[in-house]
Symmetry: C2
Subunit: 151 residues, 2 copies
């Protein structure tokens, strides 16, 4: 990971389909050299993969919410993971410090659909005591930056 790798990461975050030739022009290397570096970044796990960024709202999924999950008793992360993964509307889930046991980010078509997904979250994980939902009013920042390039 030198300075050129960092620039390549930033360029690939910006345009994941950029050709090796173009990347090479930008960082001052030949296409084969760039390919070797990118292959290495992928092999090392620094680049986990490439993906299309989908605009949820354009597909009619207009409701997004952050959900605090409070559980009773002690519950392992693995059990929670299995439960949340079973609800496809759950885009992100993580156990956290503080009063809540986990925080979810749920994307749904509308409020009715969100309610339905929440109901499934509650019944899938038996240990869920209650949930506290904060519906997103407007998204202010949505960054997909190459870290280390961000500061």
């Amino acid at each position: 990971m030198d300075a050129i790798d960092e620039r390549l990461l930033a360029l690939l975050v910006e345009d994941g389909r950029a050709s090796y030739t173009v990347l090479g022009d930008r960082v001052g290397l030949s296409a084969p050299a760039v390919k070797r570096r990118v292959d290495r970044l992928v092999a090392d796990g620094i680049v986990r993969g490439f993906t299309a960024v989908i605009d949820q709202a354009h597909l009619g999924w207009t409701t997004e919410a952050y959900v605090e999950v409070h559980c009773h008793g002690t519950i392992g992360p693995e059990e929670l993971r299995a439960s949340f993964a079973g609800v496809p509307e759950v885009q992100d889930a993580a156990t956290v410090t503080g009063q809540a046991d986990a925080i979810l980010r749920i994307v749904a078509r509308d409020v009715r659909h969100l309610e339905d997904a929440l109901e499934r979250v509650r019944t899938r994980a038996a240990a869920v005591e209650r949930t506290e939902t904060a519906i997103v009013l407007s998204r202010l920042v949505e960054r997909r930056a190459a870290l280390g390039t961000a500061d």
Copy 2:
């Protein structure tokens, strides 16, 4: 947006660098037909772009947190957006319903760095009254699914 477009979205979310030839084989179309469809999905804004997925932890950014921001008085979303965008560690920010005014997701190198970023969040937005931070213990789910394909 027909069934083929949905399958293309799912394939492109899975591998954002997949060639039109391969995509065409998977959906039963020729490469030019696939390119036209993908170009249209991008032009229509359904596909916002393509990006590399970076593994933050591999770059030494191991601390992630969800932060509730409480403000005093009334404050517009635009003012908040400008403040949060000025702190590069803020990966996501959204105004929400409920007691908190906004929820942030911050990624930092370590707890000390997180504290530093939080300090900048508080001073950048003058209206911030207090913040409530939940540090991520373990990430359970991290989905980047093509919606509409998720259910």
